[in-house]
């Protein structure tokens, strides 16, 4: 998708430039470099989802952008004598960011297409990637180069330059296009394709972190102009571009890219090497935090609303009783998933509610119905003899409820409430569909970050089990303790 957005943006920008009615105001004199020096910071815009050029690592609990492009930007900043500031944005907001002067330059593995050139000034090309083919290690000897794949299926990202290259240069191979590289790697491993075409550093990243994979060089020589990467600047920033080009020249002369690649590789290794899943514990921890947060908050609200519903259902007021019964039956008769959607989109019609809030509201409302039934059956489980004994002593209905029935009912309710809490830990996973960063959502993040499809699922599954299992043991402990009192 990333690639796609790039092409699109290129064209969009080109169009804007072409149709261009109110063209960008003419710059008086080029004070771009001077301005940077004056404010003391150089702001780089990038979309950090394209390792090893730019990607996120978790440093002391905080996400940080690293990669080859960042190293280059650092060099430029230090050459100018200012501090580098990295701003994350979507790839398709980058050029807009330049135009609106939110960022001073854009480094995001961007190819300087002629369309882009119409709205943006580019530095010289600082890197030209070759195209590789990822194969299963077992087959590494069978394939020499792109020509060895005659009659085989080959995978590439849908809409990517690689897909075009396959169509164009590997006419005797069949193309399988999938949107995500991770899916392509899964397809490769299950031999749905025999090779996956990818840019060299991307291929290298996968091969470095999966011992079952190997690289085969494509053997294509490609036009560097349509294949290289350059730094984008706002139109007319000639002095700044010149400064950047000077730094790039030095980088090239000193062969610094290699060391930058190594630095990036080290980050990736730290990120994803052998203890890979463990290394991502902070991601999972955040997921656990949200999952438990949603669960805990929902349980609290669920208990409050649920108690209200239970009292309405048990009470004598016909209208309130009917409302409570209808609510409880309806909520218990429909899937939580649809309730989450209903709350998110339904409330969204009237007020702008964040996904987390919507998720908590939906889970709370859902839980309330189950809690109401727990409370009701807790009260029902107290033998009528207890009520009769209390009433025949002269206690009023209310006194009977508060002094005799409820204190005993709470003992019965407690374990069931505990189970409800545990089951909410599992159920709350559904809020991930509206984008709440719970454990399931985080596992998807780790999937993309580690190039692994199944391992993060498994880890999250184990985490869920450990959560529910320990919690049920803890609750069981308290339960036993309470019964001994």
């Amino acid at each position: 998708m990333k690639k796609l957005m790039r092409w699109l943006m290129a064209l969009a920008v080109a169009m804007v430039a072409f149709v261009g009615v109110a063209a960008s105001p003419v710059h008086a004199a080029d004070d771009s470099l001077a301005k940077i020096k004056a404010k003391g910071t150089l702001v780089m815009g990038t979309s950090p989802d394209y390792a090893p050029y730019e990607f996120l690592v978790n440093k002391n609990g905080k996400n940080q952008v690293v990669g080859i492009d960042v190293e280059i930007a650092k060099k430029i900043a230090s050459d100018i004598g200012v501090k580098l500031v990295v701003k994350q944005m979507d790839f398709d907001s980058l050029l807009v960011g330049l135009e609106t002067h939110k960022v001073d330059m854009v480094l995001s593995a961007m190819t300087p297409t002629s369309e882009r050139k119409q709205s943006v000034d580019f530095s010289q090309i600082y890197y030209t990637a070759s195209q590789d083919i990822i194969v299963n290690k077992a087959d590494a000897k069978v394939y020499k180069n792109a020509e060895s794949f005659v009659g085989k299926k080959v995978g590439a990202q849908t809409g990517s330059m690689q897909a075009d290259l396959v169509k164009d240069k590997m006419t005797d191979s069949k193309l399988l296009g999938l949107t995500k590289v991770t899916d392509l790697i899964l397809a490769l491993k299950s031999h749905k394709v025999e090779g996956v075409v990818a840019e060299h550093p991307v291929a290298q990243a996968y091969v470095d972190h999966d011992k079952q994979l190997a690289i085969v060089k494509s053997g294509w020589t490609l036009d560097p102009e349509s294949n290289g990467q350059a730094i984008g600047f706002a139109k007319g920033s000639d002095s700044l571009v010149a400064a950047a080009n000077k730094s790039i020249n030095e980088i090239k002369k000193q062969g610094l890219i290699k060391s930058y690649t190594k630095t990036a590789g080290d980050y990736m290794t730290k990120n994803t090497a052998d203890t890979s899943m463990f290394h991502y514990w902070k991601f999972f921890a955040k997921g656990i935090e949200y999952t438990l947060l949603i669960t805990a908050v929902s349980v609290v609200f669920g208990v409050l609303i649920g108690t209200l519903m239970a009292l309405m259902r048990l009470g004598k007021n016909k209208v309130l009783h009917t409302i409570a019964v209808a609510y409880i039956e309806f909520v218990r008769g429909t899937p939580l998933m649809i309730q989450v959607m209903f709350v998110y989109f339904g409330i969204g019609l009237f007020v702008d509610v964040p996904a987390l809030t919507a998720g908590i509201i939906a889970v709370s409302l859902n839980s309330a119905a189950y809690v109401a039934e727990i409370i009701r059956s807790g009260i029902d489980s107290i033998p009528t003899g207890q009520t009769e004994a209390a009433r025949s002593l002269g206690l009023s209905t209310r006194q009977t409820m508060t002094s005799v029935v409820l204190p005993q009912a709470i003992r019965n309710i407690w374990p069931a409430l505990g189970n409800e809490f545990i089951s909410l830990i599992k159920e709350s996973s559904i809020v991930s569909i509206i984008g709440v960063t719970d454990l399931i959502y985080q596992l998807k993040v780790v999937q993309t970050a580690t190039y692994k499809g199944v391992a993060p699922i498994f880890v999250a599954m184990v985490i869920y089990f450990v959560l529910t299992f320990t919690l049920s043991k803890i609750l069981g402990h308290f339960e036993r303790k309470m019964q001994h009192d």
Partner: protein, 247 residues
Amino acid sequence: MTKPLIQINHLVKKFGDNVVLNDITETINQGDVIVVIGASGGGKSTFLRSLNLLNQPTSGEIEFEGTNLVGLSEKELDKVREKMGMVFQQFNLFPNMTVLENIKLAPMKVKNQDDAAATKKAHELLTQVGLDDKADAYPTSLSGGQMQRVAIARALAMEPDVMLFDEPTSALDPEMVGEVLKVMQDLAKSGMTMVIVTHEMGFAREAADQVWFMDQGVIAEKGEPEQIFTAPKHDRTKDFLSKVLAQ
């Protein structure tokens, strides 16, 4: 001593189509000890529970100390039930309270007695039923006989004008029946008005002023215990007694 305490007029109770009490008219006088006997399902429990309106009668009147209870609001009934102690087959002690708390609950909540007075009274009653050493025990740690004696003490704490017993010894192991009957006997001697449903014929013979034989929703026969046990008139009474006394 023969002032009518409870006057029952044309009492009828139906559960759906099932007529459980069929037009009962009886008088219970101050100080009477009435033992109700009869086969299972005859309506004994229903009759007893109608007296303090735990069961709402279908029709008829229950006059207690001059007021008709049928038709009173729940709030008014609360006042009446204070004066009618009830003891159940299953004891129905509150398991989450100690023996003392069980006894003090109603006096403090309903009569607004202060803690000291209620505690003092409770200890007196526990001594009366022979269980003062169990004051701080929880019901689950007691034997059935002890639980039932606590239940009696709890009912007495409200200083009721009449005590209703529904098979108070049926759930007990045989060796514990005696201790409960003993407490009831003492109570009868002290002049308490009592209505007792039981299968303990020996007790009925000794303690009852009157024995009522209940069958299919009516009081089929009633009289002094001697008369009922030695010369029952009604066929059903004869049949029932022959079965129960055979053993």
